[in-house]
């Protein structure tokens, strides 16, 4: 009975997927309840883009809810918050005016705040919730400012009216609205440098919530950015697209750089979400720039690439978070340095996590590869642009995406290898048990989705192209190849993941068939790992996560600025014998040091200065009232 909330959430997810699919297929609908709330009333509209995001939310909510049914039920508050969270997220893409959007957005933020705070005892959780609440509401302030301003300038709070009235607005007005709205949405999406809440909030929340937050909630920030840059304000100046592209490039590289040096499994995944948002923004920024330059085919492709990566990331990030949740549940720790050998005790979880790792590392023929490939092709289309400055920005994007791809692979070798392979590094890891059936079901479903999305781009891209066309207001793209091969812009590039997958499968069989033919020996013997003849071989001799990340810390030390803590305990009798050495090499966040701490210091100084206004003297307060009265009389 206490799992009813999760069952309901799964059903909501199913309904959302169905409705979203209907919207994707071109169905439209609208609900208007003008009397329910002031300032325009409750208004929900279904269009292809909204339908896409709705289907995305539902498609991710289903496995997450099924997973949650297998985990511990938690308090009533958490279950109720979860249901509200899923419901409000489903309503955000349908919102059609300022008030509806603000209500659903705020409901989503509040529900997730309570979910982040589910462990009310730990200081880390409280800090995480606090930072999350502040960043979310700062973003909301920007959003409200932008939306209310736009409403005032166009005379209506409805998004449809903004679309119609946008060309009439002045350049500065549109730039101001774009800046405010983009800041608000970028904060929700976790774009650098507004990302500080992500690595705190995602690990603190339970895994099914982290899966939804990472897989879906930050995508709603992307949804907002999409609407702002391509839909509500019409075609904008080039700096919009450049800003999005540069933010995407920075997020992708910086996200993965921070992920590389993390030992907390869920924080690592949270940083990877930042990286993938960066990749999505690379596609989106390109689309905005091409749209501004009038190149409709590359713009469609760019938007399709961004949408494809959105859905791919939802699939594999949810899978990875659910897998991490199973691991944390089994070993009672989030620290990778205490795990190991879990592949033998949790084979299903390990296999699903491996599929997720391969997907996020963009290895063919899985889905991460297809959307990254598509993003590369989109970035390469900058050959059609003449401005050298724009070309340089695109080259920055290309180099960033390439670096990200390689570093993501490195990071997931570490994440999967240290967590699952070799020997267990602690007793808890040695005693780990496999996840219950519902958790496994959810993970397998998502893994299957990753494979399906990877092998079926020829089916997915036309649908995404139709959505993109509806947003950009152009005709849908011409046929993109046949069922087997994806062909892009007339012979520029072609890809067939299905053919590659079949070829890989056949090639895997070649050695299996050929080895008996050449009369290879089939004898196998088990023995210990080669340790140079060492007599004692324990898990202490394995490579650690800190050691694995060391080359990266060295190469990028100008970015990490690592500090070293070395704590040596000597034997009480003699300094020649060492009892214990503790070595830590944490990286410092340059954003905390150079951006947030100075900003908070300025804020605190300002608050201290403003405190003098509250002197406590009644005479001074009367003087304030008089001054305000005089001012109003003068201005009126």
């Amino acid at each position: 009975m206490d799992r009813l909330a999760y069952g309901l959430a799964a059903l909501v997810g199913l309904a959302a997927t169905a409705l979203g699919g209907y919207g994707l297929a071109g169905g439209v609908g609208a609900i208007r309840l003008a009397w329910l709330v002031p300032l325009g009333g409750l208004e929900l509209t279904l269009d292809p883009l909204g339908g896409f995001f709705l289907a995305l939310i539902g498609f991710t909510a289903m496995p997450a809810s099924i997973y949650a049914m297998g985990s511990s039920p938690g308090e009533r508050r958490d279950r109720f918050a979860y249901l509200v969270f899923v419901l409000s997220m489903c309503l955000v893409p349908l919102a059609a005016n300022t008030m509806t959007f603000a209500i659903t957005w705020e409901l989503m933020s509040l529900a997730s705040y309570f979910l982040v705070l589910h462990d009310r005892e730990s200081k880390a959780s409280i800090h995480a919730g606090w930072v999350y609440a502040v960043m979310t509401h700062a973003g909301l302030a920007c959003l409200l400012a932008g939306m209310l301003l736009l409403g005032a300038w166009t005379g209506s709070p409805r998004f449809e009216d903004w679309r119609a009235a946008a060309p009439a607005l002045s350049g500065t007005a549109r730039n101001a609205a774009f800046a405010l709205l983009a800041l608000g949405f970028a904060g929700k999406a976790g774009v650098i440098p507004l990302h500080v809440w992500l690595p705190l909030a995602h690990p603190a929340a339970p895994s099914h919530v982290s899966a939804l937050m990472s897989g879906v909630m930050i995508k709603l920030g992307v949804y907002g950015l999409l609407r702002v840059s391509l839909d509500w304000l019409g075609v904008g100046p080039a700096w919009w697209g450049v800003a999005i592209l540069v933010a995407g490039a920075a997020s992708s590289v910086i996200g993965v750089l921070y992920a590389l040096v993390e030992h907390d499994l869920k924080r690592l995944l949270a940083f990877h979400s930042i990286e993938n948002i960066g990749i999505i923004l690379l596609g989106l920024g390109s689309a905005v720039l091409y749209h501004g330059a009038g190149l409709s085919a590359p713009a469609l492709l760019g938007l399709a690439a961004a949408l494809y990566h959105t859905i791919n990331h939802a699939a594999f990030k949810a899978l990875l978070f659910l897998g991490a949740g199973a691991v944390v549940h089994a070993t009672a720790t989030r620290n990778m340095e205490e795990m190991g050998g879990l592949i033998k005790r949790m084979p299903w979880t390990a296999a699903c996590f491996l599929v997720g790792s391969a997907a996020i590392a963009a290895l063919p023929p899985l889905n991460g590869f297809v959307s990254e490939w598509l993003t590369f092709v989109v970035l390469f289309q900058s050959r059609h642009l003449d401005a050298v400055g724009l070309n340089l920005v695109f080259i920055l994007g290309i180099a960033s995406l390439a670096l990200t791809g390689g570093l993501a692979m490195a990071c997931f070798v570490k994440a999967f290898g240290i967590t699952f392979l070799a020997l267990p590094r602690s007793d808890a890891a040695a005693r780990a048990h496999e996840a219950p059936v519902t958790m496994r079901l959810a993970m397998v479903a998502l893994a299957a989705a990753c494979v399906a999305l990877g092998l079926g781009p020829t089916l997915v891209i036309p649908a995404l192209g139709a959505v993109a066309a509806s947003v950009l207001g152009t005709a849908p793209p011409a046929t993109v190849g046949d069922w087997l091969t994806l062909r892009v812009s007339g012979g520029y590039a072609s890809l067939s993941t299905l053919a590659i997958a079949v070829a890989l499968a056949v090639s895997l069989l070649v050695p299996l068939v050929a080895l008996p033919l050449v009369r290879a020996s089939r004898r196998t013997r088990d023995y210990e790992t080669w340790g140079c003849g060492r007599i004692v071989q324990t898990a202490r001799m394995e490579y650690t996560a800190t050691a694995f990340a060391y080359p990266f810390k060295r190469v990028f030390d100008f970015f990490y600025r690592p500090t070293k803590h070395l704590d040596i305990e000597f034997h009480p009798e003699s300094r020649f014998f060492v009892e214990r050495i503790e070595y830590e090499n944490p990286a410092r966040s340059i954003f905390d040091d150079w951006l947030y701490r100075p900003a908070l210091d300025v804020l605190r100084a300002g608050a201290r200065a403003a405190r003098t206004l509250q002197s406590g003297s009644a005479n001074l307060y009367l003087a304030y009232i008089l001054a305000a009265l005089l001012l109003m009389l003068v201005l009126a």
């Binding site: 290895l363 890989l504 070649v510 196998t524 088990d526 790992t529 001799m541 490579y543 050691a547 990340a549």
Partner: protein
């Protein structure tokens, strides 16, 4: 259809059977350059034959990932062999992929090999994995930017079309953008295939190993598969370098005549490359590990300059 299948089989055989010969030629030439007689050209075949007859000793610490990795490596190399233009400009799987797919297919192999290195639970394996993925990650931007430079001039990233397009330009070799991209790609080839100055394939000191450290636990038929996959990777990288930048001898037609011409042209180009790599390996010392990123940054600078040259000339 039959011609395509036959072409596929021939291409796979050329790569599969020719790769150990390439490695043998490199070893023998390196030996001759330091005054030794050196092993015979077909020594790697004998090595592989002997390995197939040995038993496999598997560590009790490892899992199915360790046992699956040799097969995954061979599979990725065989699929890559069907995409890289080796004897013909448009190999059978050319429609399925392009240069970007190749980069990520190689990464698939590296991913599994790195996992296998960690799987044994020894410090050497983990060290090799960590270094290998660091170098692979840092080499990637160079490859993609160099590829973009090529794609800008050829107006496509499809390998077959790039080869055909460049084959029509006889004054290609003098183009500075082309030479810069070639230099960048050459350095990346050395890094990815584990040759000096990045990694010494013949070292016995585990602390200096990068690629070898990951395969220390393999034996018998698994080792044979891993070594064969490594030889194929070298062959394919060199073939890519040769055919992409110097596409003489490759035509779009598929048939015994054009394939023979392509094969002979490839043999000539590979001979030149083998000589260049052998001379480089004998005269240049291995770089300290933390100098390798500087080398890769240098190759990135070369690729970037090549790209700038293309953009500014357009």
């Amino acid at each position: 259809m039959i011609a395509d299948v036959a072409a596929a089989v021939v291409q796979v055989l050329v790569v599969g059977l020719g790769a150990p010969l390439l490695v043998g030629a490199l070893r023998t030439l390196k030996a001759r350059l330091v005054g030794r007689r050196g092993p015979r050209l077909w020594q790697p075949y004998a090595d592989l034959r002997k390995l197939l007859g040995k038993e496999v000793v598997v560590s009790t610490t490892t899992s199915w990932v360790f046992r699956a990795t040799p097969y995954v490596l061979v599979a990725t190399m065989l699929v890559t062999a069907l995409i890289v233009p080796v004897t013909v400009a448009r190999p059978p799987l050319a429609f399925a992929g392009n240069i970007i797919l190749l980069v990520y297919l190689f990464m698939l192999g590296t991913f599994f090999l790195a996992l296998a290195g960690l799987d044994a639970g020894s410090a050497f394996g983990g060290m090799g994995s960590s270094r290998e993925v660091a170098i692979a990650a840092l080499a990637e931007p160079t490859v993609i930017v160099a590829v973009f430079a090529l794609a800008l001039r050829a107006d496509t990233i499809d390998l077959g079309r790039v080869v055909e397009r460049f084959g029509r330009e006889p004054w290609l070799a003098a183009n500075p953008a082309h030479l810069l991209a070639f230099a960048a790609f050459f350095i990346v080839m050395l890094a990815e295939t584990g040759r000096l100055p990045v990694d010494n394939p013949a070292t016995h000191l585990e602390l200096t190993m990068i690629h070898e450290a990951m395969v220390l636990e393999y034996s018998g038929r698994y080792l044979a598969l891993v070594e064969w996959a490594g030889a194929m990777k070298l062959f394919l990288f060199m073939a890519l370098l040769a055919n992409l930048f110097v596409p003489w001898g490759l035509t779009g037609a598929v048939g015994p005549g054009p394939m023979l011409v392509g094969l002979l042209a490839l043999a000539g180009k590979l001979a030149v490359l083998v000589c260049a790599v052998a001379v480089l390996e004998t005269t240049v010392a291995k770089l300290r590990l933390f100098r390798v990123p500087e080398l890769l940054a240098g190759s990135f600078a070369l690729a970037f300059l090549s790209l700038m040259a293309v953009i500014l000339v357009r």
